[in-house]
């Protein structure tokens, strides 16, 4: 009785009075599943697999076309209990700005209980309690639109908790948060679940977030693909076909097991300490296999000796005429043909810095010099250089798809070109090539950009910048909001652009991706920047990462702990520098263990 049960549900958007000639694909089809009361469930799936629709059905924002959704014994299609069910459920959505109704923090928290008709002493008590539960009581009289992203999202949970729900649904609620705010946010939700017996349902693209849950349901194209404990789900390689990827620690473990010719069981995957224990056992077993080719040297990319293409010199930047500085004394060199990462928490000045690179913002003092070719120097503060700078440095902001405006993709890509006074043929040639370079087929060029899927829109927007053939491409969180497969594609696209000769600057708060794809990384915190270094060097320097509030990549954390344990029994082992691709890191650890054992024998 005490569960949420979805029975043979089919649901299509706009099915009431929709265009008969263009029937929409169903968002959910013959879906059946059950979620126990008080459980912690993750719903995974590629973009467009129906995850959010499922959330809406459980919170009775939509009612299924056929089949039934029964929440704790009450059928959602029964009008007489409609409000009772909705009152029990609460949702936190992805974009915090679009779910805040009140101007002042406490006004917004009160919105839900006010709707429920809660009377005054209790109403005040609920609001205060909810604010204290999520730890933003001190902000209660602040203006909601001025909070940081993490604070806004906490405000959204407070608003949900004040309604005293039994089910809390997080619909990609952590997608826009940086890793620290993400951990804090989840900790609050998990804590509430334990204290108040909430049923917690989280919809996410983050696999390590899914690892924290008790159960995972995978959706694919509106159908249930598979379900089970995280251990069961991640033990199954077929996950990849649903556009998902296994967590880095699991990928690492499987590679080691493969090298050693061992298998991992579901049991081994039930927690990261157990997984490490198992790997430790494999690696310290007396008969460790020596797979062929493991000692072949990895080809190391040559760094340095490259031409400097951009140089930021003593840059200060201020939004309020010098009262406070968003950027303080920034010095940074970018070399031709590299991928430079800029990492840091939200609000640290990353976006401000890249706005300067394109001369959209003017420095308070200092200079950015750009050297498009040998012997030419462009100055960002010099007005006559601005046009050439914008042609040399292409800037792709976060969610670039929100800037599309033309009737067809082709016209949109041509917008920047039309400002460059090129001939019509040249424009066409460049637009088509740019579209091809981001993987858009020719027939998409004729389409209206608003008809495309999320990933395609982003590519179209990027093509609009690439068509201008910038020597330097600056990308702000290029993969945000994409599912794991989409993220991977985006980064391989970026790599191929780099290989084609474009210098890339990426702003990111995802350390795993920054470490895996960037040649050098610099950190920003409170407007101050660190020297750019290789990821290997940066993430081994715990003093520096601590100073800049940077977390280690998850793979480095996991394998670091394993290395520590191994060091105890084989102190002679030399693990060298960390590698950030999970499979490569596994091979590197494996190699080091084999080498250590050889020394031992001698």
């Amino acid at each position: 009785m005490e569960k949420i049960s979805v029975q043979d549900v089919t649901f299509t958007y706009g099915s009431e009075g929709a265009d008969v000639n263009a029937p929409e694909e169903p968002a959910l089809e013959d879906l059946s599943l059950e979620i126990e009361k008080g459980s912690y469930t993750a719903i995974l799936g590629a973009n467009g697999s129906g995850k959010s629709t499922l959330a809406k059905l459980i919170d009775v924002i939509e009612v299924p076309d056929s089949g039934r959704v029964v929440v704790f014994g009450k059928d959602t299609s029964d009008d007489s209990v409609f409000w009772q069910i909705r009152e029990k459920g609460a949702c936190v959505f992805q974009n915090p700005d679009n779910q805040i109704v009140g101007t002042i923090v406490e006004e917004d928290v009160a919105f839900g209980p006010e709707n429920l008709g809660i009377k005054l002493p209790e109403l005040r008590e609920r609001v205060d309690q909810a604010l204290k539960d999520v730890g933003i009581y001190d902000l209660r009289l602040r203006e909601a639109s001025r909070l940081s992203g993490g604070q806004k999202q906490k405000l959204a949970i407070a608003g949900a908790l004040a309604m005293r729900p039994e089910v809390l649904i997080l619909d990609e609620a952590t997608a826009m948060l940086d890793p620290r705010s993400r951990d804090e946010f989840l900790a609050v939700c998990e804590d509430m679940r334990l204290k108040k017996g909430l049923t917690l349902i989280t919809i996410t693209h983050d696999m390590s977030e899914a690892m924290r849950c008790g159960r995972i349901i995978v959706l694919s194209k509106g159908k249930k693909a598979t379900e089970g404990t995280p251990a069961k789900i991640f033990a199954d390689i077929s996950l990849e076909q649903y556009g998902l990827r296994r967590p880095v620690s699991v990928r690492f473990a499987y590679e080691i097991a493969k090298l050693a010719g061992k298998t991992l069981t579901e049991e081994d995957l039930t927690g990261s300490s157990r997984l490490r224990e198992r790997l430790y056992k494999i690696l310290t077993a007396p008969d460790l296999k020596e797979p062929e080719g493991i000692f072949e040297e990895r080809h190391a990319g040559a760094i340095s000796d490259r031409r400097k293409i951009m140089s930021v010199k003593d840059l200060f930047s201020s939004y309020d005429g010098g009262a406070t500085f968003a950027l303080k004394n920034i010095n940074l060199d970018v070399y031709e043909g590299e991928i430079l990462g800029i990492v840091g928490e939200s609000g640290c000045g990353k976006t401000t810095l890249i706005s300067h690179m394109n001369s959209i913002m003017k420095p308070s003092s200092g200079e950015i010099e750009i050297y498009p070719e040998e012997g030419t120097t462009l100055y960002c503060s010099r007005k006559k250089d601005v046009r050439r700078i914008r042609e040399t440095v292409g800037l792709v902001f976060q969610y670039p798809e929100y800037q599309l405006f033309e009737e067809t993709v082709y016209k949109d890509i041509c917008y920047g070109l039309s400002k460059m006074k090129l001939t019509a043929e040249e424009q066409k040639d460049r637009a088509v090539k740019a579209a091809r370079s981001v993987g858009l087929e020719k027939d998409i060029l004729r389409k209206n950009p608003f008809e495309l899927s999320g990933g395609q829109k982003r590519r179209a927007a990027m093509a609009g910048v690439l068509a201008m053939r910038p020597k330097i491409l600056v990308l702000d969180e290029p993969a945000s909001g994409l599912d794991p497969a989409g993220r991977e594609e985006m980064f391989s696209l970026i790599k191929s652009l780099r290989d084609g000769g474009t210098t890339i600057v990426i702003v990111s708060h995802n350390m795993d991706e920054a470490a895996a794809y960037c040649d050098r990384i610099c950190c920003i915190r409170n407007g101050e920047v660190s020297e750019a270094e290789t990821p290997e060097k940066l993430f081994c320097d715990s003093e520096k990462t601590g100073k800049f509030g940077i977390d280690q990549p998850k793979i480095t954390k996991f394998s670091g702990l394993l290395k520590e344990e191994l060091k105890k029994v084989m102190p002679q082992a030399d693990f060298g520098t960390p590698v950030f691709e999970p499979e490569e890191e596994a091979r590197s650890v494996y190699r080091a263990v084999l080498e250590a054992r050889r020394k031992d024998v001698k």
Binding site: A90, V101, G102, T103, E143, R390, G394, F397
Partner: protein, 269 residues
Amino acid sequence: MLSDISLGRYYKADSILHRTDPRIKTLLYLVYLVVIFIIKSPVALCALGVVTVIQICMAKVSLPVIWKTVSPVLPLSLFILILNLLTIRQGNSIFNWQFINITDYGLSRAVLMAIRLIFLIVTTSLMLTLTTTPLKIADALESLFSPLKIIKVPVHEMAMMMSIALRFIPTLIEETDKIMKAQVSRGADYDTGSFINRIKGYITVLIPLFVSSFRRAEELAVAMDARCYRGGAGRTKLNPLRLRSTDVIVGLFLTSCAAALVVMDLTLR
């Protein structure tokens, strides 16, 4: 670029005007609206200026904030000034060159209009937007218009719509700024070129802004649904409006100021 405009923004402070009942403020606002459009004599206008300064002190709003509120409408004010100067033909000519003919009446009229607009903006900000949160304004309107509910006017819904519109002003300004920056980096130019070209340039901002507003509206509707919003019936209030004696005093004080201004103006005319 646009983020430092404070028109329509709430300014957080603890002042007499901030604490005053929003209904009183709304009524006072209407009173001053009338006063601003009645007053003509220069002395009364100066006196209105003094009253406005008193209001600024009562609201504890800093002068830079007032400046940020006024500065966006200065071009409009200037435009009105010039338009009036050029079009009003009554009165004695004081300047005549080719087709331009400025009269003394036209000059005084033009200055009056321009000043009125500035007073209008300052008063609106002081009485309402700067000192009152949008939800409170909506509460006040709902309460003041509640008699209309009897004849089935959707008073609550209209108040809610208004408060949401106000709540999203800063969000949309931020968004506009982002879109403009992105288009500028693709070569858009909003500051130079012919007038037509500039207007065309704004299309590159307006279309994405419209699309995103619709998306936001849809998401907000879902979020409000999820938080069990079902119209005004049965809703309670965290901070219900309660008229206190200080509210009445503030109301009486500023109303008598307004009355004094009108009397002064009528006698000086």
